[in-house]
Amino acid sequence: MLGCDAMVKCLEAEGVKAVFGYPGVAIAPFYNSMLNTQEIESVLVRTEQNAGHAASGYSRVTGKVGVCAVTSGPGATNLITGIATAYADSIPMVCITGQVESTLLGSDVFQEADITGAVESFVKYSYLVKNAADIPRIFKEAFHIANTGRRGPVLIDVPIDIQNAKIDKFHYPEDVNLRTYKPTVKGNAAQIKKLLKELSKAKRPLICAGGGVILSGAQQELDRFASTYQIPVVHTMMGIGVLPTDHGMYYGMVGNNGKPYANVAMNESDLLIVVGARVADRAVNQPELITENKIMVHIDVDPAEIGKNAASTIPIVGDVKTILNQIFDEGQEISTAAHKGWIDTLDGYREKLAKKRNPRPGFVDPAEFVKRLSMSMKDDGIYVADVGQNQIWSCANYFMKKGRFLTTGGMGTMGYSIPAAMGAKRALGDDAQVVAVCGDGAFQMSFMELATMKQHAINVKVIVLKNNYLGMVRQYQHFTYNDNYSVVDLSGSPDLEMLAKAYSIPFVRVTDMEDIDKKIADFLESDETALMECIIDPMDLV
């Protein structure tokens, strides 16, 4: 058996169903071995960055490790943005890169790039394989590292001669033995007791939930925690979907693009329980002030996040789901009578501080559109939002039922939604409903994947909110530079109807809100990839 056969066997052993990638000579042995597996599909993306985003989408809807495989040099460097995006959002991935012959490493031969060096600050760990016999151990470790502790991407760089080297016997290890890596799972019992003690005294408790809750698969536990103890819940952008929108304890997204009443709730709470969130700049403007006049509990799997941006009174390190279950195992009865007044106050704020929009008629109102769209989707539908004004409209108006909302909150990578939606759909199969919503800027960064979807029969509904501008930057220039617009005009964009025709996919253009529900329903119904263009007011602001 060759090293490249072993690589494929490792992926089979990990239960991988799809590898997103782009071949080249340095990864050719691996792709040749991929012909021998019936279990894993090779999906040919149209540019390497999208292999990373597709693997991210695959991972986020399955909770499994997403896998991508590209060639050396430019293939590997093109993938970097995908890796960095996954790293910023803590998405578990294994990224395989081909590499030039190990004996030539360092001599700047054709398509050589020091990819392990280049991605060092965007990966959880990386390997440069120097011996084919190490392949099973390295793959086992890589999958383990990617999907435990604080999740993240792991890169495996495999020189072509190592892929082609003979190995005696394939044995996939059952356990990993990493003496330097033992992430904390269980929370400290004494700290949990302290939390419950503070909770019993609190009058205005609040949970701020982040992406860590979803990564840990702890949505039900969070619901139970919030419902049992009557604690209102706000969330970060990565935390969208921790609770259904119509949940009694749900009070919206925080941050400069969030709901004003959610931010007020953060400021006025006397016990703030931050769960699986970083207290990052976009969620909390002045993290050093957020801890004033309150007890802050910070639950996170990564000890380095605790105290990085805001000093917490009670830090609890460990897996969110495990810790929430530990809280219940304590079985402490807590009177929630005092919380009633607080909840009433928040309800009042919600009423008073709701943002009112005044959309210009004759266009699609993106805020109302997102609401109608997400309400029309299947209960367990997957909504993938891109980056820009469209992201903010999506975040603010998405109606969460039992589905998932995916977006990149950490890196804010334009062009994420289409490939990520494609990866999610490939992972979930025929019954899943997956919708990508992007602006016309991000669309033009990623629409080459329409070909991939066509080729691999991956049915994703793509919606472009078109305003002929890089809207988020235009809005910034509107406020910061008094409407002196520079380099934000998207004139020259293609006619999307003709583009859809070129890819032979159904197309619908929506120019206003008339009959919008029917148009959305018809669009979602078709059983192939389809493109919808919504004409929105170019001067609209989020």
């Binding site: 060096g117 060092e120 600050s121 000890p303 380095a304």
Partner: protein, 159 residues
């Protein structure tokens, strides 16, 4: 605030670059760095002297701990440890200033380890502040070149 980090890492290629890269990326200072194998050949010990405010000092330890090649970190103050540095210093001498240089060497417990007709090399192994003193004292004569290690340190012995 000055801190000494004694970091046990996997003795593998690329680990030094990863640790140094972490300091650069997160804008942490490295005042000095010394690396060497321990009694276990699979393990190296990095002694890193760094400074920063309280939050930085804490973040350095936490971020180091996140690196998968790191398996143990001890953080301590200079006062809680025995810090040592090694320095080689080459000076030009002549008949007139030779006695003065020899006197300085003796007072500072530096050894003369090499000599030519008009140059001599001193070696000192001592606390970082004493090394600094020697440099200051020799600045009066002409220093040709200096090589010094970073600080090595171990926490003081306990009972």
């Amino acid at each position: 605030m000055k801190k000494i980090y004694s970091v046990l890492v996997e003795n593998r290629s690329g680990v030094l670059a990863k640790i140094a890269g972490l300091f650069a990326r997160r804008c942490f200072n490295i005042d000095s760095l010394a690396v060497g194998e321990t009694d276990d050949p699979t393990t190296s010990c990095m002694t890193i002297v760094s400074s920063g405010d309280e939050r930085t000092i804490e973040q350095i330890e936490k971020q180091l701990n996140k690196k998968l090649d790191v398996f143990k970190i001890k953080t301590f103050d200079e006062t809680e440890a025995v810090p040592r540095e090694l320095m080689l210093v080459k000076v030009k001498y002549n008949r007139t200033n030779r006695p003065e240089i020899m006197e300085i060497a003796q007072a500072m417990k530096a050894d003369i380890v090499d000599m030519s007709k008009n140059q001599m090399m001193l070696q000192i192994c001592d606390r970082p502040d004493r090394i600094q003193t020697l440099i200051k004292l020799l600045a009066g004569v002409s220093i040709v070149e200096i090589a010094r290690t970073g600080t090595l340190a171990l926490p003081r012995c306990t009972d």
